[in-house]
């Protein structure tokens, strides 16, 4: 797969634009997944996917043939998401949260229970979790999403964020600490 990706990259750089389509088709699913987890909604996630592949194409000459294209474009996508979250207007909206509309960017906890009371409780917990996530800094959120949901190692997170492994580990730890503090009142409810 990796060798195939490399030969496609060489073809694209030799002028075969259409060849890039194969890379987009192969990796857009995984890029959408991390973009959705970072942004929390489909519309933003789809824009991140487009932007990541566009930036990837424009920077293809800097792609090192010893790296994996999937990891490389994943890193671009995470950075696109971080850029977007860090835009002043968006960050303010993101950090302040919308406490009156907890369902806008839904965070749910799994429930097989059809009990309305249980379902309500579950939605409430989801909203608190979402608010807690919004209080993380963009880097903490990216580090937590990659560690907790994407199961990426600390070294991979460090590489994606362009920081030292210790800094990546600290970002994950700070995120966990903040989330636990925010979610402490819910302990025992779920």
């Amino acid at each position: 797969m990796q060798e195939n990706d490399h030969s496609i990259v060489r073809a694209v750089l030799a002028g075969d634009k259409e060849a890039y389509g194969a890379l987009v088709r192969a990796h857009s699913g995984s890029i959408f997944r991390v973009a959705f987890r970072m942004m929390g909604n489909e519309a933003d996630a789809e824009e991140i996917v487009q932007e990541a592949f566009l930036r990837g194409y424009q920077r293809l000459e800097s792609f090192q043939q010893r790296a994996s294209f999937g990891t490389w474009v994943y890193r671009i996508a995470v950075n696109c998401a971080l850029d977007r979250i860090q835009r002043p207007g968006i960050e303010a909206e993101y950090r302040a949260g919308d406490e009156n509309d907890p369902e806008e960017k839904t965070v749910q906890i799994e429930t097989q229970d059809a009990d309305p009371e249980r379902s309500l409780l579950s939605r409430e917990i989801g909203a608190v979790q979402e608010r807690a996530m919004r209080r993380l800094t963009p880097t903490e959120k990216a580090a937590f999403v990659m560690r907790h949901h994407e199961d990426r190692s600390v070294n991979e997170i460090a590489e994606v964020l362009g920081v030292a492994p210790n800094a990546a580990k600290n970002a994950v730890f700070r995120a966990v600490q903040k989330l636990r503090r925010e979610l402490a009142p819910l302990r025992g409810m779920a």
């Binding site: 694209v12 750089l13 030799a14 002028g15 075969d16 634009k17 259409e18 890039y20 389509g21 987009v24 088709r25 192969a26 990796h27 857009s28 699913g29 959408f32 997944r33 959705f36 987890r37 929390g40 489909e42 996917v49 487009q50 592949f53 566009l54 194409y57 293809l60 000459e61 800097s62 960017k105 839904t106 965070v107 749910q108 906890i109 799994e110 917990i125 989801g126 979790q129 996530m133 999403v145 560690r147 907790h148 949901h149 600390v154 580990k169 994950v172 730890f173 966990v176 600490q177 989330l179 636990r180 979610l183 302990r187 779920a190």
Partner: protein, 258 residues
């Protein structure tokens, strides 16, 4: 017994602190309780399910993206099939070194030839040593100034989007840089401050272009404005005219210095 810190417990949860930390949690009731609490909090942290994309999703992304992409230009092939993309490493170095050696050989050969000719002329009764000094050098230097002038003109009109043209510019700059150093040193020794100064300023421009790993539009603009390449171009033109005149005079039997 030293208890595990919260950080160590988090590492253990993500499978990084296994071994001693894991054994400790098994043995220590207090740490085991804290770990269980941490595990419960983190296990409960599940974001919304990622919406499934159908099999055509990648194709749709590509269809939306494709019109926005400009095809990369086909790489020009150099001598022996070398592509411009490979010119950043040893190939460019080898070529630059080869050119420098060739120029040095021409320079030394010129001096040697001049000495022989002078000796012959002296033997023949010509008392003016300046008469035959370094005509070859003047010719080689004029050629260097010619090439430099072409490079500076290309730099003035460089289109940053043209990767092949930029690679060519950079490759030429590398070649000229090596020979320029040689001429500058010689001009300094020959006490020709005008030429030495111009070659010195030129060397700065050549080094900027040659040593930049990713030549961008901003870099080209910065070199043009900060290093006053137009001024240098003018100086080079004047010097070239002067040297050409000297060369002509030398050919007519008059002396010339570098």
């Amino acid at each position: 017994m030293k208890h595990l810190s919260e950080e160590e417990l988090v590492e253990l949860y993500y499978g990084e602190g296994e071994g001693a930390a894991s054994a400790h949690v098994k043995a220590c009731r207090e740490c085991a309780a804290q770990y269980a609490e941490l595990k419960q909090s983190l296990d409960g942290m599940s974001l919304a399910e990622v919406p499934q994309r159908d099999a055509q999703y990648g194709e749709r992304v590509w269809q939306a993206l494709e019109p926005r992409l400009i095809p990369y230009e086909k790489k020009a092939r150099g001598w022996f099939g070398w592509g411009w993309s490979g010119w950043t490493g040893w190939k460019a170095g080898t070529l630059a070194l080869g050119c420098a050696m060739l120029l040095a050989a021409a320079f030394v050969g010129g001096r040697y030839w001049a000495r022989i000719t002078t000796k012959t002329d002296n033997t023949a009764g010509n008392k003016n040593p300046q008469t035959t000094t370094q005509p070859t050098v003047v010719v080689v230097l004029t050629e260097h100034l010619d090439r430099t002038e072409r490079l500076l003109v290309a730099l003035e009109h460089a289109d940053s989007q043209d990767h092949v043209e930029n690679a060519q510019l950079q490759s030429d700059a590398r070649e000229l840089l090596a020979s320029n150093r040689l001429y500058r040193t010689t001009a300094t020794h020959a006490k020709d401050p005008a030429l030495a100064g111009a070659l010195d300023r030129l060397e700065g421009v050549l080094a900027e272009i040659a040593n930049n790993p990713n030549l961008t539009a901003e870099d080209l603009q910065r070199v043009r404005s900060e290093m006053n390449t137009q001024g240098i171009l003018f100086e080079i033109r004047v010097l070239r005219t002067r040297k050409t005149d000297q060369g002509n005079k030398t050919n007519q039997g008059r002396g010339a210095s570098i």
